[in-house]
Each structure stands twice: as C-alpha cells, then as structure tokens.
Subunit: 599 residues, 2 copies
C-alpha cells in the first residue's frame, strides 16, 4: 500500500540511485550494513510512523499541551508513539553499536527520521531534540558527563532541549543575559529566563536535559562571553539515578499557530537561587558548541519543511486523482461525466510545482546528510575536509530554501483541495500551519541569509563556493552527455557562474561597506537556493535518465515523472534567479536607503 505520509519509492531513489548509499557499506563503519538493512530500517520507520505517529497528528493539534500551574498535560498518544520510536531503535539509529545504536549512515538515519516528521512533526520533535542534545554532549561533554547523561539520552529515559532564546534577545545571541556563577564544587548557579523552549516541560521522560546558553560572571560582553551548560530538570547523581528537583520552573506556555503538539515553554532558571548547571566545553566557547547542535538542527528544520510539504503534496495528489470535477477544455458536454481534477492542466501545474519543490528539497537535505557521512567516514582527509566545507556552506540553504518553497507546496495542497482544503476536516490546513514555523526557528531565514553571505560563501576567499562549483561542474559534465539533459546542464553552468561572479562582487562590496554589501542578503540566499536545487534536479534527472531505458511499468512512470519535474524546474524556476542576481551584483540600495519614517 502506498503510504500517504511519504513516498518510499522516492526515498529509495534518493538514497540508492542518486546518493549511492550502498557504496558506504564498503567503509569500515558500515560493513555490517547492506541495501537490505537500509531498506529494512526505512520500512520499520514507515510502519511505526504510520501506526503510531500519523493517527494522532490531528488530535495533538486540536488538544495541544496544557499547563495548570503544576504540570504539563498532553494526550497519551504522544508518549506511546515515542515509546515505539525508541523501542524500534530510532533514537540511536546513527550511533555506534557499542552504545546500542544501529550504526546507520547519517543519510539513512535522516531518511528514516524524515518519515516520522512527515507523519507527525510535533511528536517527532521531542526525539529530534533529544538526538541533537545527545550528539552535542557526545561531542563536547567530559567523560563524566557522557557517562552520566548519554546512556539515558540514548535510551530515552532522559529527553533533551536547547535553550538559547531570551525575551529580549531572539536572533541576537550577543544579548543573552542568563548568568552562571561558579560554585565551589565546580558547577554553576544558573539564573535567567528562556523563551520558546520546545519540549521544555513534560512527563514524557524521567528527566529533561536542558542545554542552556549563559554568561559566566565576568565574561566578556557579546557572543565571546557565552558558555554552554547542562541544566537537568532533576539533578543527576553519580550513579545516574535522579536526585532532587533542580530550580527550573515553567513560567508558561506559548500557544502556536501550528506545530502545536510540541510544547513550547517559557522557563525560569534559578528563581530561588538553586539552579545548578554543569559547564560543557570551554568557558566562553558555548556558541561554537551550540552551533554543533544548531547546524544539525538546521538541516533537521529543512527536512521537516520538506516532509510537511511532501505529505501535503501526497494528500493533494490522492485528492486530485479521486475528486471528479469539471471537464476537458476541448469537450465540455455537461452530459459527460466529470473527470478527476488531475486531468486539468492547472492542477497538474500545481502538482508538478509541488513535486519539484519537495523532491528537490529532499534531495538537498539528504545530500547534506550524505556530506555528514563523508565528513566522518570519507576515505581521505581531503575528502573529509571538503565534505565538511561543503556542508558548512550548504547548511543555511538546506534550512531556508525548503522552509520557504516547501511551505508553498503545503499552500498548493490546500489550493488543490479547494474549499475543503481550507477546512479542519481535511489534513492539509494543519500541515500548512505547521510548515510556517520552519522559516522562523533555529535562526530565521533572514539570519541564515546573513550567515551565508557574510560568512560561509566568502570565508577563506570563497573556497567553499569553489568546491561547490567543482562538484556542480562534475555533474554538469556528466549530464551534458545525455541529450535530454544537455540544455539543463548548460543552464545550470551559466546560473552557477552568475552566482559565483555575484558572490565575488558582493564580497568585495561587503569588505568596503557591509551595509551595502549585505543589504539584499535574503535575495542572495533565495537565488543560491534555486541554483543548488537546480543542481539537485540535474542529479535526479541524470539518475532517472540512466535508469529509464531498463525500466518497465510503474518504474517507467516514476522516472518520467522525475524528468518532468526536472524540466519544470529548469524551465520555470531556475531562469528566475537571473534578475535578482543582477540586482545583487548592482548593489541595489532600494531597501537600504528606505528610511524608517517613510513607512
């Protein structure tokens, strides 16, 4: 049975035919794996997601978590689903066998995780946060911290959060005020307020491990004086057992437009002077530790946007195939039977556009995950360093592009449903509300744009962009040999060249005048994203063109669909970057010069 929440066929295509994850099984870390074990993990994910996550997605939206001043209450299905997720091993899917993990490549683990996000992003978030939290402690924790926290984060006995934002400091982490006063035993007394903390309070796990940004007394101002702390809800004793309650109080909940299943909290640390935290990593280096988690979380946000868009698209596709309405333009005899709306070109346009966005976004996020695998298991040090540089460059794109375009897929899904799509009797309106968060959390898209243009695209004289150019050129050369793709390949090469030249121009301008050089950073990010996704479509088109001659039945249709979406993206979308890139290169000052009083 075809699942409505995700396309197994497409995941298989992306993993094996585009990203060749099977090649990873030749590496020491993955020798015990095979195509079969990868598919088996994916099928388990699809099964658990279908049975345990999808069924309460609407209920969790309608009956969001509540706080009575004492406890947070939520529907029991959330815990049941997470228990099944944990029992199936997905909390440690990418971790070593020795800690009980499945030792899957990051690419496959992400694909499995994606399926849960498609089914129920609100419930999955608790797991996503816990995984990222454990990864951070694994990377930066002391041996003692790893011993006391990791086994419990891996087993799901503890859940995790990340606590960055404060009421006066949203995107501006330089203004974090939460303070940390050293205590004689080496721990710190934490005091401050954090807002929008997802999973900040619940009874889903025995304990909650907050990773909190705070300032050690006397630290330098700004981002260079921020440290990172483990602050558990309940203190964790030497043997891992739980001690008394730490001084972390729930001050209230936020009530969101969507993504309601994930409790969003306002937390007060140390109101009674008894909140104890443990330093993670070096003092004043908290932000770089946190960005370890944030970079991972950003790709996670991109993938969540992709999967919300994917599920929206699949619902719309089912509806378009089943709903009879209207007649062909050439034969409007009212006595004839209405046709399914997928027969109307405009409905196909909406479907093709959605497909191009969600499958392009999926290719991008899984490509980023594949870079994580290269970074960790690449065969040479150079391979690993290159993967690392590419991943760094693509992270804001993999976050922001899907957050914008896959939201559009959710919107198109409503449109395809017509009036029904706007009602809560159908699932797509919720997916649209859920998906709107992705351009905001883990750094707004505007912040991603500055991060990309001011830092990542120009760092080291633009070395990462040069690497990207080489990777693109390899695929352009390969695809250029196929007649069906040659024109697309040339278009991509041209667009990349314009992006490269524009970046150089902007780098020089920014060095002279950052206000002017960075004024249109958002347009830069959007164009960058379109070029990168065009590349992803060229790669998918090449894989489809390779496979098509030997394919039969539904496989033929699948590959033809890939080539159609590829064509659509190259014909209708990629050319749209030429103008904004030209405006960027011209250093258009329209927004910069608009004075606040003019509005």
């Amino acid at each position: 049975m075809k699942s409505r929440i995700a396309s197994r066929r497409d995941l298989e295509f992306q993993l094996f035919e585009v990203l060749d994850v099977e090649a990873l099984t030749r590496r020491p870390r993955f020798t015990e794996h095979s195509r079969e074990t990868f598919l088996s993990a994916l099928d388990t994910a699809l099964d658990v997601a279908d049975r345990k996550f999808a069924p309460h997605n609407r209920t969790a939206d309608e009956r969001e978590p509540t706080f009575d001043g004492e406890r947070v209450t939520m529907i029991p299905e959330v815990k049941e689903a997470l228990d099944a997720f944990i029992a199936a091993g997905f909390l440690v899917s990418a971790r070593h066998y020795e800690v009980g993990g499945m030792q899957l490549p990051s690419t496959v683990a992400r694909a499995c995780h994606a399926v849960f996000e498609a089914a129920n992003v609100g419930t999955t978030s608790y797991a996503s946060l816990t995984i990222a939290n454990a990864n951070l402690i694994a990377a930066f924790g002391t041996p003692d911290q790893k011993r006391r926290y990791l086994p419990h984060l891996h087993s799901g006995r503890f859940f995790g959060t990340m606590a960055l934002t404060e009421p006066q400091a949203g995107s501006s982490l330089a203004d974090v005020r939460t303070s940390a006063r050293p205590r004689p035993d080496g721990t710190y007394s934490i005091s401050g307020t954090k807002v929008f903390i997802s999973g900040g309070e619940h009874d889903l796990a025995a304990n909650i491990v907050h990773l909190v940004l705070a300032r050690i007394e006397g630290a330098p101002p700004g981002v260079k004086g921020i440290s990172l702390f483990i602050v558990p809800k309940l203190r964790v004793l030497e043997d891992g057992s739980l001690g008394e309650r730490n001084d972390v109080a729930l001050a209230g909940l936020f009530h969101k437009m969507g993504w309601r299943g994930t409790v969003s909290t306002h937390l007060a640390f140390g109101e009674n002077g008894r909140c104890v935290g443990e330093l993670v990593g070096e003092p004043n280096r908290g932000l770089s530790c946190m960005f370890h988690m944030m970079n991972e979380a950003r790709i996670g946000v991109g993938l969540a946007a992709v999967m919300l868009g994917t599920t929206s698209y699949l619902h719309a596709l089912d509806y378009a195939r089943e709903r009879p309405q209207g007649r062909p333009l050439k034969d409007r005899d009212p006595l004839s039977s209405p046709v399914p709306i997928i027969e109307h070109a405009d409905v196909r346009r909406m479907l093709l556009r959605s497909k191009a966005y969600v499958e392009g976004g999926l290719a991008l996020c899984l490509y980023a995950a594949r870079l994580v695998d290269e970074q960790h298991t690449g065969e040479t040090a150079e391979d690993r360093a290159e993967a690392s540089a590419l991943l760094d460059l693509l992270t804001p794109v993999a976050k922001a592009w899907p957050a914008e375009l896959c939201l559009e897929a959710s919107s198109l899904a409503i449109q395809i449903h017509g009036g029904y799509g706007y009602t809560r009797e159908y699932p797509v309106e919720q997916l649209y509300r859920d998906n709107r968060l992705n351009a905001i959390h883990e750094g707004t898209n505007g912040i991603q744009a500055l991060d990309l243009l001011a830092r990542r695209a120009v760092a080291g004289g633009g070395r990462s962009l040069e690497l990207l150019g080489r990777a693109v050129a390899r695929d352009v050369d390969a695809a250029g040999k196929d007649e069906r793709l040659r024109g697309h390949a040339q278009d991509l090469a041209r667009a990349f060249e314009q992006l490269r030249a524009t970046t150089q121009r902007l780098a020089a301008a920014t060095a002279a005048d950052p206000d002017l050089g960075l004024a249109n950073a958002s347009a830069y990010l959007q164009s960058f994203g379109h070029v990168v996704v065009a590349w992803m479509w060229l790669r998918q088109g090449a894989a489809a063109a390779r496979a098509l001659p030997g394919a039969t039945g539904p496989d033929r249709d699948f590959y033809e669909g890939k080539l159609a979406a590829c064509r659509w993206f190259f014909r209708w979308e990629l050319p749209c970057v030429a103008h904004p890139l030209a405006m960027l290169a011209a250093l258009d000052p329209t927004c910069l010069e608009a004075r606040p009083a003019w509005f």
Copy 2:
C-alpha cells in the same frame, strides 16, 4: 492617533490624490457630496471599526460559531458590531438617498468597507454578503420582490447569502443539481444541498435571504440550464412580515483554518418537500445574474486580501519600530544598545515588499471601484462602456493578485515578529490564516486565470486589453515627463507590450488548441497582475512626485515612502514577468504533457 487596522493617510491619498474622487462631486448623483463628506464617512468607518469590530477579532476566532443541532450560537459582539455598522449607515453607503442610503460613490463606499475588513473580516462578511445580495435583487428582482425584500436588506432586518456550491460541484457550476419544480402559484419547490454557504444560519437578523442556483425541471444541462432563486429562511408575506419557516435546514458547519467568525454552513433545501423559492431574472439565466453579484464579490475578495495584508503590515511596522534587537552591521559593539529592528536592512526589505504589495493591491481594488462609478455615472455613453469593459477585464486580477501577494504580506508580518509572530498571543498569525481563504473563495485563482485568458483578455478580439493599453499609455506618457519616473514608465511600456503580444499569441494558440493555449493560464494571470500593479505604482509614484515639492514634515516622508515602494516594485518585481511571459508565448507544454501516472 494612528490606527493599526488601516492607514487613513493612505486611503486619503488613494481616493483624492490618485483617483480624484472629488471630481465625482460634479456629477449629478454626487452633487451633495464633497471632500468633507467623503472624509467624514471614512472617519466614521475608522471609528466604528476600531471600537466595535477590531476588539472581538481574536475572540471570534477562538470561539467560532457552534451548532447544537438546533441553533447556531456565536459571541454577542458580532451582532453588536453589525448593529453599529448598520446604525452608521454602511449597509447602504452606496445606495440612493431615497432608500435611506448615503449615496456615496462606489469608490468611497469600498474604502469605508475596506476599513471594516481590516478590523474584522469575519464579522464584516455578514454585511458584505447582505450588500451584494441586495444589489442583485435591485438589479434583477421584480418590482414585487424589490418591495418585499429590499427595504429589509437595506435596514439589516434581513441578511443575505449566495448559495452556489454543491458537494459534487465546487468550481464546476455546470454540475449544479439543486432542482426547482414549478408550483401552481408561480413559485418553485426547491430541493438540493449546498456547501460552504457563508452566513447560512444565524440569529443576527430576523431573516436570511438565500440566493440559490438551481435547475428548473426540464432545463437544458450545464450552465445554460441554471436559474436563480430567492429562498428565504422564513417566508416573507405580502406586507413584508414573516410567515412560517421555509424548508431550509442546517445540516452542519464547516470548521475553517481561519475566517472563523463567519459561519460556514452546509444547507439542505427541501428535505421535506416544502422549500419555496422565487425565480429571480429569466429562467436559465441564473448564472449571468449571479455573476453580477460574483463580480462585485470578487473585487470584495481582493480588497479583503488587501486589508488583511495591510493590517498585518501595520502590526509588523509597529513591532519593527518598537522591538530593539541586534546592532548595525558596521558597529556591533555588544555594550551598545540594541537598535529597533526596523534599522536592519532585511527588516526594511520585508516592510517595503509588504508595502508594495498591500498599497499596490489597494490601488488596484479602488481603481476597480472607481470604474464602477464611471460605469454608472461616466459622462458619455462611451466613457461608461469603456469603464465597463475595463472593469470586466480587471475583475479576476483584482481578485487573484491580492489573494496571492497580500497573503505574502501577512506571512512577512509573521516573519518580522519572529517567534512571537507564530504565536496566538500576537495578531498576525490569525491574519495569515484568514488571508489564506482569498485564493479559494468566489472562484479559485485557477478559475480566475482561465476566466481571464480564455474570455476576458481575448473577448472581442482583445478590445478590453486594447483599452487597458490606452489607459496605461496615458499614464506612461504623463509619468515619462518626470525624471524620477521616466525609467519606470519605459519599463512599464515594455512589459505591457510583452503582455499584449503574448496575449495575441495565446489567443491564436487557444483557438487552434485550447488545451495548449490555456495550459499555463495561472502564469498568465500572475504576470498580468504584476504588470497592472506596476501601472498602479506608476500612478501612485506620479501622484507622490507631484505632491512632494510642496510637502513638509510627515507628508514628505509619506511621499518619499510611496516613491521608494514604487522603485522597489519596478526594480525587484516587474522584471520578473519577462520570463514567464516568454514561456507563455512559447506555449510551454511541461505541465500539459505531465501524465497523471508520472506523479
């Protein structure tokens, strides 16, 4: 005090400086009016909207109408607001003095109505529907129908609805099945089911007048066999008093993502064979009567989208001015005070983009209203015919463009608020949900696109488009004399020429093969909209450039803001139509050729 719901300054600018409504006071119908009476009506609207509509906008969303099987219940503020609206005369603002109206020009009446939509679109809808309903009966009703219904629709004793959609026939009115069987007394026995009927049941008025599309027994199939009927909830006796309940039953409510204050109903007509309806207009001509109401309603939808976007923008603007966060790119000293976020170029970009969309959309919808005034009171028969043709051409654009782009303004308003904007503690998330409906109701944007390209833009050999071209050319010539606008004027002329040539190409292609010619109709509508709104910005820019030399203080800023938004639209938006228009002219078959099985 500056209102958050709408900009009085901008409404004044649009009415007097761009559309010169004062000139209308020289026409017989409006001789008793003056600039002062127009402004007084606008101020009354702002006052009533602020006091009676805005305060319960959130409550009406949180506590949507409910149905207990007997009655629909809603919060009492809705009736209080509508009573104030009626008492202030806005139900008859454009109607003759002799029926108790204010006899305002349509342009001014629309501007007043817009203010209520900005404050609370859900509550205002009951009034919008009643006004449109009364207009239709005034246009097509028999003298007896006018006598029995109009006074009560004008006084607000009766409210109105329009009942087109059926479960099996959304956009496809050809498939309407509701039947009408002639009764001996000349009335009809109505039987059938209608869905998504806004305002279909409530206790806000003594009676509800449904205007229902149905098929007289034996009528031809398809749209040529549809008639229009008045079907009151309670029968209306000769003297206007109310008789027994008609056989119209509420089968259930729809629960929408937004716009929740307007009850959306599923109505069953004639379940007990006792539903009586009165024919309006000629038999089998129901659709053309209904389109009288629909065309008006479509501009109303466009304007609602504009006003939801406007309010979103104004909230975001207030927030951007008040919220300190981050520092200038050139001076990031963390010891300095954070600046209001409007100081960041990217926030100004979002504001300028929103401003360009909502003020461009407002100019378009009020221009359409001005055409209604020309159509009715133009000095020569030719003027009136021309206005009528232009209005006909622009109606789908005035509906669809704001539904798409002013929704984007609502989305940007969330983005400017960051995490707070995504919570229900702030107003913008509701405005975004509300605004999403506008691309769907009164004919989806896809239907508008087909209507535009298959009919309105090509009718009579493209005569309406030629008229539009002349109107554009007049403004291009005038603006070309101003140095600041010359480049924009040239750009507009070029874009219009491309639109004209593309339309001709598509008309010829459609005649040969409608599937191919109309396959990309949505892209045509979007590009058409951008060209028209560029024209609206040129007109606004010209008015601002005229006024700027003599302006001082806040007026200078206002005009500079207009010129900045005009620049932004011409620099960043208008050039983006070149590519889709080229694809249209090339008859790109990508969507048309995508087979259903490929998805």
